[in-house]
Symmetry: C2
């Protein structure tokens, strides 16, 4: 991953914090050396307000604190704060200090940074981008328990290079032409085999490839929904969903998710009242909770969909991590129950193979494949066959099952460690969690504040508020079990001991 | 490219025609052998009506003609036509034969083929998909003068394999993680060099990569426009644009394009009346005409954009084929005039490097890069760095300029051949054409009918009507100079001699 462009600004913010902790002068390092010191502080603060490190109405560090932290004179900070007050970004309250102006909200100082996004997109999308930007920034792997990927070292596998080399050796076959609009046929045929193992009778001619799971969700939503339409998601669920669906002008409605599945009573009311045409969900190892769905709930969901002429969009990107019936409940998928009548099913490979390949396979109900394919063509024509061929080789390879088994074992071990260690810092390992990539941990404190404190100390965490459609304050956070080190738990222990429970 | 899925149906249609010409019984070959003969004819006709070989209101072959053509009994055809009349697909007129019911339009017989598309998308998108489907079907290279790509043999270049192998050798560096949201930084830096050569001062931090030019257009349109908004395009222009923009719910308005550029008077009226925020165009070697834009016109366009707070979205995918000032006018690009104030500029590599890579680079005005990046993240997260690294290597390679020069020379030779040979079949080589991939040829006859006749004889051509926002009948067609063989010209000569001019 490259440290450049707008992510420089985030990275530089991190450098500043880390630099301070390391005792070096951060100003000449993280920020643009051509700016004078006052403007550097203005930019530093502007970035943090933009990133919501300091939310509207929040108090910012005192002059003395910030001068010490940034290793500049108080005079510099006073001038910088003056400028920020004059610009309407900070407000000064006599005897109490400086606060982020509550009207400032999305106002950006370090122009031209986010003006366009704020003007253009709906404001709700901004909170999502907070974490998104950090996820795509340069926080080190062992500093990012909030990440959504396994550590590289867990995935590294010589098979990937072997497959890629084999595909490019034959690239003359395909690279000069557009591939099939529905995707590389042998990959779709291989998916029939894969899906058969988990109980689905899928057909290659009802599949279409997309540039990752996100593009599949975007595509199905664009196909079914128009601005103003309602769309149903789990609460909590993957934060990207809220930003993406809202950017389409959709009304995103959350249905509470418990360890058995979505709350059917609430869902029934929403279906009757808001008439969503689509319910986007993970049934297996749901993000962020690693919960599943019971057969009874799944059946009720499908009945509701049928009754209201709506569809489930089942994102199964974590499914590879489920060991079947090995631990607790077997993985239950909507598509396996319903066999693609009311279910669109997405298989993705970013989590278990390699994120950069950007390939997902979307399986559609027969009557929608033509429409979905046409829509894909009108969105971005075709996907690169090169990448699909690599995925195909990896799936078709006899070693694939062993690779997944190894990953599952390591993930299970990580869960065991957390189950043992969380009580030691006064936290409860969530009892109904299955062995997925995440646990959904109640910290008892405001995790937005926790995230900011963590970021200041160089940790990337995923505060629970991001995973809810209304993105308020939450005491939960999503922990990536494979990236939660004892160092982080030690940090967390100190943080929790110093802060008052909420 | 693979012959499967829905394209089977198209391919099978072609097989039928070709099979007839080859004297074999097509019925057991192209169509589903499990259907009885009557249903096979019903499906055969249904497909052609769906594909608009036979448009609403058009007369279909007589019973005798079709019986001969498909090598089945007249009895079979009579029964099939009866079924089609009963289904409301055909209408019989006493003494005159059978016609496609004018109400049938998008009605599909061979369900579930296109029902969903018709129900879902706006009907206008369908005409676009007509050609799109064929382009992604299996028509042989030397049978497709309507194609938008150079022949594979012109592009084949060992450098591509070398670059791809070099990139995958190092794939451990990047393949397990998501790349930079704005795209692989060295590629963006290389683009600064490339664009500098054509007069643009671009900055890597103002660029974002997309999955090909189509995804860049989709992205900018989604960023700027809301359903119901107007968007300006050239008339004629790339047919995909109409379908794609309309699928977003936009009002697509065409401004007539002549060899000097868009008609400024018409454009002024449209800007005042419909207030489009975006004008999507090719300035260099415009598709389908291979015309450019004069400095005076370009200046007026930019003034208009400024005045109405609108933007040019300049798709420069054909720019690599322009030899600078070698032939006629130098290539004038909006972005070179305006330096990214009112211009979004897209560089694509499908035409001059390799279509399957699916990489484009979008250069944005500084104040929009943040918004565009955020929007890309909410559409489909990140693009595969793998593909961007391959493009980077190819561009950075010292052989790249030589490769382009070779292509230009071959294209220029193809133009010279057409300039010589078109008059021999009674057609005029369009005088103001520059040496691009296409010529925009006036045939003097209805090119929709020409396209159908051509398809029946196994040729894929691109009728002019597709390139107009209202997609009516046109006497023009777009010819790919690199794929227009003397065999096709011979076929065209016969066709034109047998048909009455319109």
């Amino acid at each position: 991953m490259n440290n450049d462009t707008i992510y420089n600004e985030i990275a530089s913010t991190q450098e500043v914090s880390l630099g301070v902790h390391g005792g070096t002068n951060p100003m000449g390092k993280g920020l643009d050396a051509r700016l004078n010191k006052v403007d550097q502080v203005v930019a530093w603060m502007g970035e943090r307000i933009d990133m919501r490190f300091y939310a509207p109405g929040a108090r910012v560090p005192s002059v003395r604190q910030l001068a010490e932290r940034l290793d500049v004179s108080r005079f510099t900070i006073v001038h910088a704060y003056d400028k920020l007050v004059a610009a309407g970004v900070l407000a000064s309250r006599a005897g109490s200090g400086f606060y982020v102006a509550s009207s400032v909200g999305e106002k950006i100082i370090a122009a031209p940074k986010a003006d366009a996004l704020n003007e253009q997109a709906n404001v709700n999308a901004l909170d999502t981008t907070w974490l998104m930007r950090h996820i795509f920034s340069d926080v080190a792997e062992d500093r990012s328990p909030g990440s959504g990927l396994l550590p590289k070292s867990w995935l590294e596998n010589e098979r990937v290079g072997v497959a890629a080399r084999a595909v490019v050796r034959l690239c003359d076959e395909h690279i000069y032409d557009y591939g099939n609009v529905q995707g590389y046929a042998p990959l779709r045929e291989q998916m029939v085999v894969q899906l058969h193992k988990i109980g689905m009778a899928a057909r290659p001619e009802h599949m279409v490839t997309t540039q990752g799971v996100s593009a599949a969700i975007d595509l199905v939503a664009r196909y079914f929904l128009r601005p103003g339409d309602a769309v149903l998601v789990d609460d909590p669920s993957w934060f990207w969903l809220y930003g993406s669906l809202r950017a389409q002008g959709l009304r995103v409605i959350g249905v509470p998710r418990d360890p058995d599945g979505p709350d059917i009573e609430v869902m029934t009311r929403i279906m009757q009242h808001d008439k969503p045409k689509l319910y986007v969900t993970n049934s297996v190892l749901h993000n962020p909770t690693s919960w599943g769905v019971t057969p009874a709930r799944a059946y009720q969901v499908l009945r509701l969909m049928d009754e209201h002429d709506a569809y489930v969009l089942e994102d199964d990107i974590y499914g590879d991590f489920h060991a079947g019936a090995a631990k607790g409940a077997p993985a239950l998928r909507y598509a396996a129950l319903d066999q693609f009548k009311r279910v669109f099913y997405i298989a993705g490979f970013a989590k278990s193979l390699a994120a950069d390949l950007r390939v997902a396979v979307l399986c559609c109900p027969a009557e929608h494949i033509q429409g979905i394919t046409g829509r894909k063509m009108l969105c971005n024509m075709v996907s690169p066959e090169l990448n699909e061929r690599i995925v195909h080789r990896l799936l078709a390879d006899g070693q694939h099952r062993r690779h997944l088994e190894r990953l599952r074992q390591r993930i299970a071990n990580a869960h065991a460690r957390l189950r043992e260690n969380l009580p030691k810092i006064g936290l409860v390992y969530p009892p109904l969690t299955q062995d997925g990539l995440f646990i959904w941990l109640d910290t008892g404190v405001d995790t937005n504040a926790l995230a900011i404190a963590a970021m200041n100390d160089g940790w990337l965490i995923a505060p629970g508020g991001l995973f809810s459609p209304n993105q308020g304050v939450s005491t939960f956070m999503r922990l990536n079990v494979a990236r939660t080190s004892s160092e982080f738990l030690a940090w967390l222990k100190i943080y929790l001991s110093e802060i008052e429970p909420k």
